[in-house]
Amino acid sequence: MKPEDLERILFTEKQIEPSPTFCGDVMVHVQAEASYKPIPFPWIPFAAIILVLAILVLWLYPADSVLRAANVLVYTTVNWFIAPSDIALRNVLLAAFESLALTLLLVWFSLRLAGANR
């Protein structure tokens, strides 16, 4: 096959016509997508929950012990990176587990709220 034959074949391609309903079909999908409104994040209930949780923690534990615990947590985490030890590792893992559990709880609660707002 000569190069010019290949050029001719590739250049001369039959044109196809879209179906008469094509434009309408596309616009139906476009309108549907445009009318979709994202669910707003429930900031007010979320803030209320955080506030309640904070009050609960402060009520259960005196403020200075919470601060001390936070200090210990930060100190052990930093310390573990400098000089890892088993106790520090246990504390870090415990803190990570607690954070994860709290995050999952909040995610679950947010999804419940979002579901209720649909």
Binding site: L10, Q15, E17, M27, V30
Partner: protein
């Protein structure tokens, strides 16, 4: 004229007049369906692919900054959609050799009509390795404009040229080898 209308319609859609997108669809449905057809060689599927492309264009309309021509941008977005569509659901025939075997099973390559042979070659383009396939399809679709082809493919002109050369070479080799094999087989079994 069309470029100005496109920009105006994009502006209107971004300001909330969704129905203006209908003008864009009407103006570009033909090229996008035809470009999709060159990738999949299936009329119904080409419409589905073009519809997905329009949805993607609608979603990304605000990313069109007007630096490139609207046509270049619209084809570039569509090309990505078509590539993904073909990744998700590949063509029924997997390689050029399979395609030729299938065709030879019906009519020997050398005996088929010119028109059918041309169609077979166009189908073979869709089965080339992706980069060569894209380069050849876009280049001939955009009337052999190398600068625009490179812009749509988002590569340099040199790269686009190299892909085109390699793709055409590969296609010619496959087809020549096939016609030689068919001719030899014909001589053995007259």
């Amino acid at each position: 004229m069309t470029a100005d209308q496109d920009r105006e319609d994009v502006h209107r859609v971004l300001e909330g007049d969704i129905s203006s997108f209908g003008n864009i669809v009407r103006r570009w449905q033909n090229p996008l369906v035809n470009l999709a057809f060159r990738f999949c060689r299936d009329r119904q599927r080409s419409e589905e692919m073009a519809q997905d492309a329009f949805m993607q264009i609608f979603r990304n309309l605000e990313k069109f900054r007007g630096e490139a021509a609207f046509s270049t941008w619209i084809f570039s977005v569509s090309l990505n959609v078509y590539r993904s569509a073909l990744r998700r659901k590949s063509l029924p025939v997997k390689s050029i050799d399979d395609l030729m075997d299938l065709a030879a099973g019906q009519i020997p390559y050398l005996q088929i009509e010119q028109q059918e042979r041309d169609e077979l070659i166009r189908q073979a383009v869709a089965l080339l390795p992706k980069r060569y396939r894209d380069a050849i399809i876009v280049f001939y679709f955009r009337e052999m404009n190398l600068t625009e082809t490179a812009a749509i493919l988002r590569v340099s002109e040199g790269t686009a040229k190299a892909w085109l050369h390699r793709g055409r070479e590969m296609l010619r080799n496959k087809l020549e080898r096939r016609s030689t094999t068919t001719a030899a087989a014909k001589e053995v079994r007259p």
